[in-house]
Symmetry: C2
Subunit: 489 residues, 2 copies
């Protein structure tokens, strides 16, 4: 394991101060130009040197005929050229003294035949100069905090705490918008491509010492260095959680076509075993992977399995209780102290058990202050699972029928949502007790949005929240188990 982030070959790749880019032009529909566009869009602050045989300027940047002509040695070469000339470019980079590269170009080992030979040639060219590189056949890297995005998709949202290494570029770029909607983001995300030089284990090592990464996400189609993978994961898990998705790789379809029953059982069970041994939490979908990362990176994450549910509706409360039961989480009975405190707050139609279902409250703000305050003090529970339900339009209508003039509703409603949000945030800061929310409202619902933007995980439906709570508890046990086994050695 590396001691410092700067010891990783990925440090200059994820945090370059200067980049030579091969393949960008003024022809706007090409991939290479798209990459340069992404770099410019996110406002990369280092030097960018387009290398182009003919153009003097590329997208308004001074271009160079040859990488050897550059005024300095850039930290990184970004190569997006036709397959046949990639090795030649790598060689030129080596002669210039460049030590790190990303090869976006495809057409190598993944297409078989001649591609295999071309990849060997590429590896040899890099090795000759000791160049470390990501790819080929990858989509690049993004470190939004450093305003770096070498992928062809526009980065959306802000920097976050999820460190990602993916054997599918799509699960980096096509998640930008998804994460942004959840007020989440990547610390750094690597698309590893063919892993001809740098592989997913190198990425895990980098992310383990990356100070901005709180949780590591992996998308895996196949592991090459099995032993290193397991050992590296086990050294990371006591410090940071790792969540992985394995879905059988792109071969699944073919196998599924031949024999759809049991075809997956072989590799699927194998990966179950590898992940268990590694202390890695396995997700069953990319959405579940990010759901779990959300909870594990949250300051409100739980280490326990005893859940108290706050709802004001029977059905959604029952659905949450059912999900807890299926996931093996506990719904402990409330303590006498809690029952006593709640009895003064709940109407006679409410239910003082777990789920706490308080139907209607005379004072709307009780939902967001006094009731959750009591539940956050419940000594029998480790985490509060909270149902958010008030649609914006219903609240706005309530104000209208309360005689509030239409133009004042537009002012008053946001103030109410702010007050509700602050009440919950204050409680969580004061109590330091884990918390997860669920709702059927939109993620852009006014109250939900405010809380999500403050880092509170609020899931669509209770099952997703429960899976995330379960995973956080699972991580606590995995960490203890692996720490104990490491310290015995």
């Amino acid at each position: 394991m590396i001691a410092s982030i700067k010891d990783s070959p990925l440090y200059p790749i994820a945090n370059p101060r200067s980049i030579a880019i091969f393949g960008a032009s003024n022809k706007v529909t090409t991939m290479g130009t798209g990459l340069l566009g992404s770099l410019l869009d996110l406002g990369f602050e280092g030097e960018i040197y387009p290398i182009h045989l003919k153009e003097d300027r590329v997208l308004n940047l001074k271009a160079y005929r040859n990488v050897l002509d550059l005024p300095t040695v850039p930290d990184l070469a970004l190569i997006c050229l036709p397959t046949r000339i990639v090795s030649e470019a790598m060689d030129a980079c080596g002669r210039k003294g460049i030590k790190h590269a990303i090869v976006i170009s495809g057409g190598f080992r993944e297409v078989g035949g001649e591609g295999v030979a071309l990849e060997k040639e590429l590896i040899a060219a890099a090795n000759k100069y000791g160049i470390r590189f990501l790819g080929p056949n990858c989509i690049g890297v993004t470190t939004p905090r450093s305003k770096l995005n070498t992928t062809f998709m526009t980065y959306e949202g802000t920097a976050g705490f999820i460190g990602m290494a993916s054997q599918s570029g799509s699960f980096v770029t096509q998640m930008f918008n998804y994460l942004s909607r959840h007020a989440l983001g990547f610390s750094t995300a690597f698309s590893v491509g063919n892993e001809a030089n740098i592989d997913i284990v190198d990425c895990m090592e980098y992310l383990s010492v990356c100070p901005d990464t709180k949780v590591i996400g992996l998308y895996i189609e196949g592991i090459r260095r099995g032993r290193a993978f397991v050992e590296t994961a086990r050294s990371i898990v006591p410090k940071k959680p790792i969540v992985a998705l394995y879905v059988g790789g792109s071969e699944t379809g073919k196998r599924a076509g031949l024999s759809h029953t049991g075809a997956l059982a072989g590799p699927d069970r194998l990966y179950d075993g590898i992940f268990r041994q590694s202390g890695i939490i396995r997700a069953q979908s990319i959405i579940e992977l990010f759901d779990i990362c959300w909870m594990l990176g949250s300051p409100h994450r739980t280490a326990g399995r005893r859940v108290v549910i706050q709802t004001h509706s029977g059905g959604p409360g029952a659905e949450a209780a059912d999900a807890c039961g299926r996931a093996g989480l506990e719904l402990p009975p409330l303590s006498p102290e809690t029952i006593k405190k709640l009895s003064t707050l709940l109407p006679h139609t409410g239910s003082i058990s777990n789920p706490v279902d308080f139907t209607f409250s005379r004072n709307l703000m009780d939902y967001f202050s006094t009731i959750p305050e009591v539940l956050l003090e419940e000594k029998n529970a480790d985490v509060l699972l909270y149902y958010f339900s008030m649609p914006n339009r219903t609240l706005e209508r309530m104000l209208k029928y309360m005689g509030v003039p239409t133009d004042q509703i537009a002012e008053l409603a946001p103030e109410l949502f702010d007050a509700q949000c602050e009440a919950i945030i204050n409680l969580l800061e004061k109590r330091q007790k884990p918390f997860a929310g669920y709702t059927y409202q939109d993620i852009y619902d006014k109250l939900v949005r405010r809380l999500v933007e403050r880092g509170i995980p609020i899931y669509q439906g209770p099952q997703r929240a429960v899976r995330a709570i379960e995973a956080a508890f699972q991580y606590t046990r995995l960490r203890e188990k692996i720490s104990a086994s490491v310290s015995q050695k």
Copy 2:
């Protein structure tokens, strides 16, 4: 079974031409006033008669001291009064000649003790006059097509094809916004409450002959008339699909608290058996219930299990293939005709197998026209599962770098989305082949939104799409099985 919708006691309840409302006042924070507000908000076009002891006008409508004073006999009484005076109001309705009622008020059997006696008294009052009523302790009814909404929440969205009967009012009202976001809606939704007179079986009968209902959704905490439930369901399923959610009811929490493992197994398995016998598709969450209704009510629903996947990204394609494999759906090999046709369209980096992964296409419109056209003609497959991935911002940037001036991008982008949407809609109309989409983009993404508003189901992530396809196939088999068993009798 009833022959015509007008034979159902629920017809005047779901489609009243005139309503007497008890409990609405000018005090805007009460439940009763909220109900009247909802009726007015949705623009109910029949007569509304507020009954109020003191007020001359209620929310600007002429009020009556006594229901006996009304100029006509209304189709429906809507009662939201303190528990103790509900029977008295019911008796007055009977004397007026009113034959149908909804009792919103709670505090009856569900609270035990005196509430049980009060419910008996209420039933007796109704029986004396032959009044059929929904409730008590329910949230009411909505028939958006008739501009009827007797719940206290604002109806959002438009009328749809989902007929719902729910033992939780929340799973009616708190889904308004959820369904609206998916361009779905209720035909009629009933909250059945304590089922003192009309029960969930009556609702199923009504919905079975309701011409606006394509699929019936049920939320069940407990079935009272078991045999009638099974027989009614079996008589409906050959005509319309039924999807049900059972999550153990509000007792789940208490049982889960006592013994979280296996506590659910008893009733859970019992309900599995009842649903199987009834030909009902079981959903595991309320979101899954509506996912399945979406597919089952879609003109594009499949009757088969052979799926062809169109993607341009390996990871999302693999995730979809994995989901199909786990659900027992087939991914057949492509026919030689399809392979031949695709080979002229796909770049050399693309994969002509199933999933069809065409990475990049020279012509953006190929994704939405020529490629899906070939796949919709594939004779080996029953349904096309299609991955939508282009974030709005990336497309807009492509246009920007193509030199399109900023002000024209705002015009051109919607035109492109329109063209993409129309291309897909045209293909589906022409081919009449089942289709389901999945994406990680928002439901308000510009292309996704256009298609969703045209009734195309597009799910968040492949697992949800695959579950819906699986359920549609399951329905086909259930219908055949039950039709065969009915015709043998």
